[in-house]
């Protein structure tokens, strides 16, 4: 060691302050761009802001306007419907594929690649592709009609009652492979000896899955639920590309509502209020899930 004592203490001083110094730009950015901006949006939601932001307190007028807006309730109901079905089908399809792929499948690598590639695509690309597939004149409907089923109609994309379900179809297509990957990783992480012991006891394979393997996936299950509900609440690009929220407002979701009121209709206050409602929804859904996730992770 060649360092004199003064050099050594300089070193020590640097080591004490450098970590904090290095972290500080990111912390400052987080304070401003996350916490500060949330507060800013929150403040805007309590003002009379329309085309331009204003900062005088106006109470709950924007929330009142939001809750009296029928379109907002359409968007909220659609989010519930889309979110519920999207999560349900992603879980079912993902779990089924994971269990099937876990059976020492010959071409597992290739199949996994195929199931997962939609995750690499932008939701806009997915929406564009499915918009074409579901085209009532020239898409899948025509394929079935050409097969001889001349009465077959599949017009969900332009049917106000059904348009939101097309978003479910495309969303599940995009995200279920990812759920499969998470479940498969979970299944592979389970100790083989548990399975062997159950087999010795004479349990059949379906029973082993139903009673032992799938229940032990609880922590994975919560992570998946967390991610899927996050995707669902934020969903914007997919709906924009697939239905644009239409026909009419029939497939509107909160993210589109917020974007249009804040940026194309000049209703900043209502936009801010709807953004805050989205934040509350995320908190209300994610916090209990995170709590359950950490609890179940501890138990296993």
């Amino acid at each position: 060691m060649s360092g004199s004592s003064s050099q050594g203490s300089l070193h020590a001083l640097a080591d004490r302050w450098l970590p904090k110094l290095v972290l500080s730009p990111t912390l400052a950015a987080s304070l401003i761009f996350v916490y500060g901006f949330i507060a800013w949006t929150g403040w805007l939601s309590f003002t009379e802001s329309r085309l331009m932001p204003r900062y005088e307190w106006a109470g709950f007028v924007q929330y009142q306007a939001l809750f009296e807006n029928e379109r907002w309730w359409t968007a909220a109901a659609n989010l519930g419907l889309f979110g519920g079905l999207f999560i349900l089908f992603c879980l079912l399809v993902g779990l089924l594929m994971a269990v099937l792929l876990d059976q020492k499948i010959r071409a597992e690598g290739m199949l996994r690649t195929i199931y997962l590639y939609p995750m690499a695509l932008s939701f806009v690309v997915t929406g564009t592709a499915w918009k074409w597939m579901l085209n009532p004149d020239m898409g899948l409907q025509k394929v079935v009609v050409d097969l001889g089923f001349t009465d077959f109609t599949f017009d969900w994309l332009v049917n106000p009652d059904m348009a939101i379900y097309t978003v479910v179809i495309a969303g599940v297509w995009q995200s279920s492979g990812f759920v499969m990957a998470l479940f498969l990783a979970g299944l592979r992480g389970i100790d083989d000896s548990i399975i062997k012991a159950a087999q010795v006891d004479g349990a059949s394979l379906p029973t082993i899955y139903r009673r032992i393997l799938i229940p032990s996936l609880r922590p994975v299950f919560f992570s998946v639920l967390l991610i899927l509900s996050h995707i669902a609440i934020k969903s914007f690009d997919l709906v924009m590309a697939l239905t644009g929220g239409g026909p009419g407002n029939s497939s509107d979701v909160p993210a589109i509502f917020m974007y249009q009121f804040a940026f194309t209709r000049g209703q900043l206050g209502v936009g801010a209020a709807s953004a805050m409602m989205m934040l509350f929804t995320i908190v209300a859904v994610l916090v209990p899930l995170m709590y359950m996730e950490t609890r179940s992770a501890k138990r296993v």
Binding site: G3, T26, V34, F37, Y117, M119, A275, M278
Partner: protein, 285 residues
């Protein structure tokens, strides 16, 4: 035991194959449609191969298709996305690496709380920051610029990259760093000499994740950019929803594939790391 049940195995394979077809169908339809003529599309069947393979739709999607008022195809927007994605990925990854190094190896009083505070940025719906961000970018003169989008993506991407590197570095044994400190190595020496050489895999995971996220982003692009500075996802959406004249589905599909090519390419060459990133990002928090 399942091995001998050949009927059962056949069913498993059949189900898996059916799923594979379901996932591949949209890609197949996109590809074949993009090579068809409009007459072929109108008269033929969506699942049929093109009667004559034509590249015209691709040329048009790249250089002539209308994305609103402009009719210069996707080319300019493709470069916009590259100019936005590369710096944003590089900066956010490097920041994440040093941040992750600090919160895992140089913990100080309150650093865990600060890390948790950072993580919140991974979970917020971005709608809640859009209005202030638009104001700020306007003030800074960065509205409708690629530089503005780079800033936004760095700011909101760093929480994820920090998490990636932190989760990687906490698996490195403490003794390694302690020994180096006793030998007189300082903050940066330890980072550059000891940690960086073993960080290859996590850099790949993080870069792929950020690249996919930023390239595929639509929300920030549509809110903070307009006209010439739009990223490719926004241009694609405009192209598909431009309702002037005859709808050219073959051009739509070619444009969609062009927008998807970079991330698909990354997935094909580094799929293993891509999956690892997804699962690592998934077990956050």
């Amino acid at each position: 035991m399942f091995k001998n049940l050949t009927v059962g195995r056949a069913l498993v394979y059949a189900a898996l194959l059916l799923m594979a077809i379901y996932y591949l169908l949209p890609l197949y339809v996109m590809l074949t449609t993009s090579f068809k003529s409009l007459d072929d599309i109108r008269e033929g069947n969506m699942l049929a191969l093109p009667q004559a393979w034509q590249g015209g739709a691709w040329a048009k999607a790249w250089a002539e298709a209308c994305t609103g008022v402009e009719c210069n195809g996707m080319q300019g927007f493709f470069w916009n996305s590259i100019k936005m994605t590369l710096p944003a990925v590089a900066i956010s990854t490097l920041l994440g690496a040093v941040n992750g190094y600090v919160v895992s190896m140089w913990r100080f009083r309150g650093s865990d709380a600060l890390f948790t505070m950072l993580l919140v940025g991974c979970f917020i719906p971005f709608q809640v920051v859009l209005l202030p961000m638009a104001q700020l970018l306007g003030l800074l003169g960065l509205a409708n610029t690629t530089a503005g989008l780079v800033l936004v993506h760095v700011v909101y991407g760093t929480a994820f990259t920090t998490l990636f590197f932190r989760n990687f570095y906490i698996t490195v044994p403490d003794e390694l760093v302690k020994a180096a400190r006793i030998d007189g190595a300082g903050f940066w020496t330890i980072f550059f000499r000891i940690l960086l050489p073993i960080s290859g895999p996590i850099f790949v995971v993080c870069i792929i994740w950020q690249f996919t996220q930023i390239w595929n982003d639509f929300l920030f692009g549509v809110v903070f950019a307009s006209g010439e500075s739009q990223p490719i996802t926004v241009a694609l959406n405009n192209l598909v929803n431009t309702s002037t004249g005859v709808k050219e589905y073959n051009v739509d599909m070619a444009a969609a594939i062009i927008a998807a090519l970079p991330t698909l390419f990354v997935y094909m060459v580094a799929g293993r790391y891509f999956v690892r990133g997804l699962t690592a990002g998934a077990v956050k928090g």
